[in-house]
Symmetry: C2
Subunit: 198 residues, 2 copies
């Protein structure tokens, strides 16, 4: 429609998550008709981000420097390490404001059928980090999916020989969750992991 | 989060229609983590589109040339002119495959309270186009909103002196519409504009 470059823009926008052909068209029209300055700014931001953002050499989260701000921070507890699957999870936990330790990003989960074993998600490197002896507790914050659970269990096994406490984030009914809408697996977990109040 | 350039990318993505802070974060992470090549391609497509796409000098739709393909086409009927509010409407009608004439894009609708009068949406230029005498029928395809209707009515008045037939796209129950879910205004229009079947 309109011109080749317009169609190319629509196609390029479709790489964005949950953007289908209709949304991509709407976005392209919006940018061209109503916000060219914004479109140029977006192009610049994309080029800058892809050029300068890379993995932190310590925790494998994202940074523009050799080592990320969280790893460098002296205000965060070196003794607690939170293990997550991806930088998105670091972001989610940071935004919850519930954690003041450091992170370790695996970059995925174990998935033998896809050929993703312990090496592929850098478990030997994590074990090596724990071997340095600074960390007293590892919080396993992999996803509550089958693969995330399996990865957490594997990590417990792989660190058996180390004097490090391993904990798993709690699973149960989410805040504001109404029991009748919570799936039965979650509910059975919540009953099983019930906490004493008195 | 992560770095300044990451935050700038999230901000830049928020100019896209219906992208809130959460979606923008998800998009930025997806681009940086999973599709850097796509991100670079998107930046290129944005730069190309904003540089080369502009209004057609005849119909005011979008093109990369002086005059758009539809205006130049000899296969399309010069005698029927479809008047729409925006290039998005040209796209919608083209995709419906229901029209083989030419277009005229107003670039908006009358909105006196916002200071948008006939000059601002180029009605004198449209009247001039009709004055050339080529066009036999104008299909008024402005939106079925209050402003779109007012603009259509204004155009009928403004072209009273010209020997041009003015028609309005039909309004009624949309295809697949179930009457109980159709709003009462649309339903009353549909009853009022009923068509004889026998």
């Amino acid at each position: 429609m309109f011109s080749d470059r317009f169609d190319q823009l629509v196609q390029a926008l479709r790489i964005l998550p949950s953007v289908g052909p209709k949304s991509a068209q709407r976005m392209a029209l919006h940018l061209i008709m109503k916000n060219r300055e914004g479109a140029i700014g977006l192009a610049h931001a994309l080029n800058e981000a892809t050029t300068y953002i890379h993995e932190c050499s310590v925790c494998h989260s994202l940074t523009e420097n050799e080592i990320c701000d969280i790893c460098l921070s002296h205000e965060r507890d070196d003794q607690i390490l939170c293990v997550v699957e991806s930088p998105a999870d670091v972001m989610a936990i940071e935004q919850s404001g519930s954690f003041r330790g450091k992170y370790h990003v695996l970059g995925g989960h174990l998935s033998p059928l896809d050929g993703i074993g312990p090496e592929e998600i850098g478990i030997p490197y994590l074990v090596q980090r724990l071997n340095e002896g600074k960390v007293a507790e590892v919080i396993l914050a992999t996803n509550a999916t089958v693969e995330g659970q399996a990865t957490a269990h594997y990590l417990v096994e792989a660190t058996k020989h180390l004097p490090v406490q391993m904990t798993r984030i709690a699973q149960g009914v989410p805040q504001g969750g109404e029991l009748e809408y919570v799936d039965s697996h979650t509910l059975s977990q919540a009953v099983h992991n019930r906490m004493r109040m008195k």
